[in-house]
Amino acid sequence: MNRKIFVLLVLLSTLVGQAQVKHVEMRVEGMT
């Protein structure tokens, strides 16, 4: 039973963790 809950929690945290900003890229000018 505990094992099932653990697996469920891992799955949930994986799902929640997917939604995010994964990468940001900028092109800048005037950099020295």
């Binding site: 995010q20 092109r27 800048v28 000018e29």
Partner: protein, 132 residues
């Protein structure tokens, strides 16, 4: 500028290429990164941003006016600028489908030297990488 950006919340790593002016920012997994803050921090360091692109995963939601947004976190969403690609996302709006989108959040208007970006930043979709 690299140190300035590295101090922003949610930033794990900043890589700057002096050759082509490209700045790559890797967010932490805590989801605390805020692109508008990164833009401001870059301007504050005396550098002008020509363009900002992001890759983000989230759900597509539609507001009462019919505008689509990419909901990344309960407190973080980007309004999507309507274009051909964004119309493809209408079908998954309001569902729990996760989409990974590459889009542009800011582009400097042509001909102007240094312009503060208009907030909130709007997302112009360049491509949909994945739907789950």
């Amino acid at each position: 500028m690299k140190q300035h950006l590295g101090r922003q919340s949610g930033v794990q790593q900043v890589e700057v290429s002096l050759l082509n002016g490209k700045v790559d920012i890797t967010p932490k997994n805590d989801g605390q990164i805020e692109p508008a803050q990164l833009l401001k921090a870059t301007y504050d360091s005396g550098v002008s941003v020509a363009e900002m692109d992001i890759t983000a995963t989230g759900m597509i939601v539609k507001d009462t006016s019919g505008a689509l947004s990419l909901l990344v976190k309960p407190n973080q969403a980007f309004v999507i600028v309507p274009n051909e690609t964004s119309h493809m996302l209408e079908a998954v709006a309001g569902t729990e489908t996760q989409v990974t989108i590459r889009g542009q959040l800011y582009q400097k208007p042509p001909g102007k030297k240094k312009v503060q970006p208009e907030l909130p930043l709007k997302l112009t979709i360049l491509g949909v990488q994945k739907q789950e």
